[in-house]
């Protein structure tokens, strides 16, 4: 059996997305900035894609900036909001300890430029509260950035309420919706969002293309300088095939959100319940307020990379937050942020399901993970010490 359960890393492109791209490679291949008819046809397509995406997000087309993906959108959102704050003497930014590195590393950079960064602690359930955000807001706060859904443990943040708190205090609110777009409903206006990042390859669109939504009136600062594309805010000839693929993928995904969730949630819960049967295992993140596709566990006494390699041998593609998969000595900052000790964080497993996962596949995954965890524990000196009582279990 072959199961791709790493959809949080990236997804397979949909047929609709691929077909939407093809004409823009060899038929309507013009540069949207060209005045001739071939260019103008491309320009019309660009405008059409922008409008369709704006409709799906409930915003205006001119509030959409196409970027090279989620990372660039995050960078530009944070840098723009920081510069706007700086102009009025507000140099405090609030975010969370479990954001994606595209946010955290940009904040590091802003910190070095003299901004003060508050990273909110994340509780064990992986859910930030609006109260926690409100308590951190100061008179000099210019921006709050809280992700919609976490990319590792899949927890879904109360962004509507967090957005409302920010509105009430006159602070800009950015959300990294890279894991949410196409999987959870997004309504820019109803959810009090000022800035939002999304990335097409997480919802069956092409890689290397994304969107930065920023509310009318928020002046963007360029991250890429050059030509006058994207109202002068993002230079570079537009990647029209990718943009068309993204628009098609987002339409398809947004129209099926409820249907996909109805299919996924019972299977996700079955997988969670099945893996929870493994002794000394623990689910990471709230059981209900999580992406319909996300299952994330820690297993005591084993290391994640060997778990992944053996699952791969059994046809299952998964991911882990262990240090040895990342090349650094520290395990995932997300797991550390929710309070998992290093020893436990090394033995983590993320299964991010695709919408067409079957019950048979879920049963197979439960069996395969159980077998591999048992096998690795049997050769683990840590496990022997735990079971012989020489050291104490962290996960009861």
């Amino acid at each position: 059996m072959n199961i791709y359960a790493d959809n949080a890393a990236t997804t397979k492109m949909s047929k609709a997305a691929i077909e939407a791209m093809l004409p823009y490679m060899d038929e309507i291949y013009g540069n949207p900035s060209s005045l001739h008819s071939v260019g103008q046809r491309a320009n019309e397509a660009l405008a059409d894609a922008r409008m369709r995406i704006a409709t799906l997000l409930n915003c205006e087309p001119r509030e959409i900036t196409f970027t090279s993906g989620g990372s660039e959108a995050d960078n530009q959102a944070l840098i723009s909001a920081a510069k706007l704050g700086e102009r009025v003497g507000k140099k405090h930014i609030i975010s969370t300890a479990f954001e994606h590195h595209a946010v955290l590393h940009t904040l590091d950079k802003l910190g070095k430029m003299g901004f003060e960064i508050t990273l909110l602690d994340v509780p064990e359930n992986g859910l930030i509260t609006p109260e926690e955000v409100e308590a951190a807001i100061r008179p000099d706060t210019c921006l709050v950035s809280v992700m919609y859904a976490n990319n590792e443990i899949g927890t879904v943040q109360p962004i509507t309420e967090i957005g409302a708190v920010c509105r009430a205090h006159g602070v800009l609110f950015h959300t990294d919706a890279v894991q949410a777009a196409g999987h959870l409903h997004i309504d820019i206006k109803a959810q009090n969002i000022d800035m939002l990042s999304l990335s097409a390859h997480k919802f069956h669109g092409p890689k290397g293309i994304g969107v930065l939504y920023s509310k009318k009136g928020i002046l963007l600062s360029n991250v890429i300088e050059g030509g006058a594309q994207e109202r002068g805010k993002r230079a570079g000839t537009e990647n029209l095939p990718a943009i068309m693929g993204m628009a098609a993928a987002l339409e398809e995904a947004c129209h099926s959100i409820d249907e996909h969730a109805a299919h996924l949630i019972p299977l996700r819960n079955k997988l969670i319940d099945g893996l929870a049967q493994i002794p000394h295992s623990i689910l990471n993140g709230d059981k209900d307020k999580r992406l319909p596709s996300n299952v994330h566990f820690c297993f005591e006494g084993i290391e994640g990379e060997s778990l992944l390699l053996l699952l791969d041998d059994k046809g299952i593609c998964a991911s882990s937050g262990s240090a040895c998969t990342s090349g650094s000595l520290d395990p995932s900052h997300v797991l550390l942020a929710i309070g998992r000790p290093h020893e436990i964080a090394h033995g983590s497993l993320r299964l991010s399901l695709s919408e067409d996962v079957t019950e048979e596949e879920v049963d197979y995954m439960i069996q395969a993970v159980t077998d591999v965890v048992t096998y690795l524990r049997n050769m683990s000196p840590v496990w022997r010490e735990l079971t012989s009582g020489k050291s104490e279990f962290i996960i009861k």
Partner: protein, 127 residues
Amino acid sequence: MALYSEKVMDHFRNPRNVGVIENADGVGKVGNAKCGDIMEIYLKIDNDIITDAKFETFGCGSAIASSSMATEMIKGKPVSEAAQLTNKAVTEALDGLPPQKIHCSVLAEEAIKKALDDYYQKNGESK
């Protein structure tokens, strides 16, 4: 290109010498769960010859394959020779490791050295 060589994957998938030796003549444990790799090596030694070697490892593919290869390389060897085993030799025998994974193979060398120290100590000898 795959992360690991065929040799590494072979030793990772079918590790040689997994287990514990009761009343071993030398035991060495290195690493800690915090950094992500722990290795424990057991030696049976007769007349200064390593007659058996076993290991238990908590760790990545590289750590498991290195333990397997290292124990294979010292079995049947005199302790003096085993003490010379380097992580470089282990890595070479595995047809190489990715640069960020070399540190895991260092653990195998260290575990063997520690097990030999334990053996010398138990036998009242200094190196």
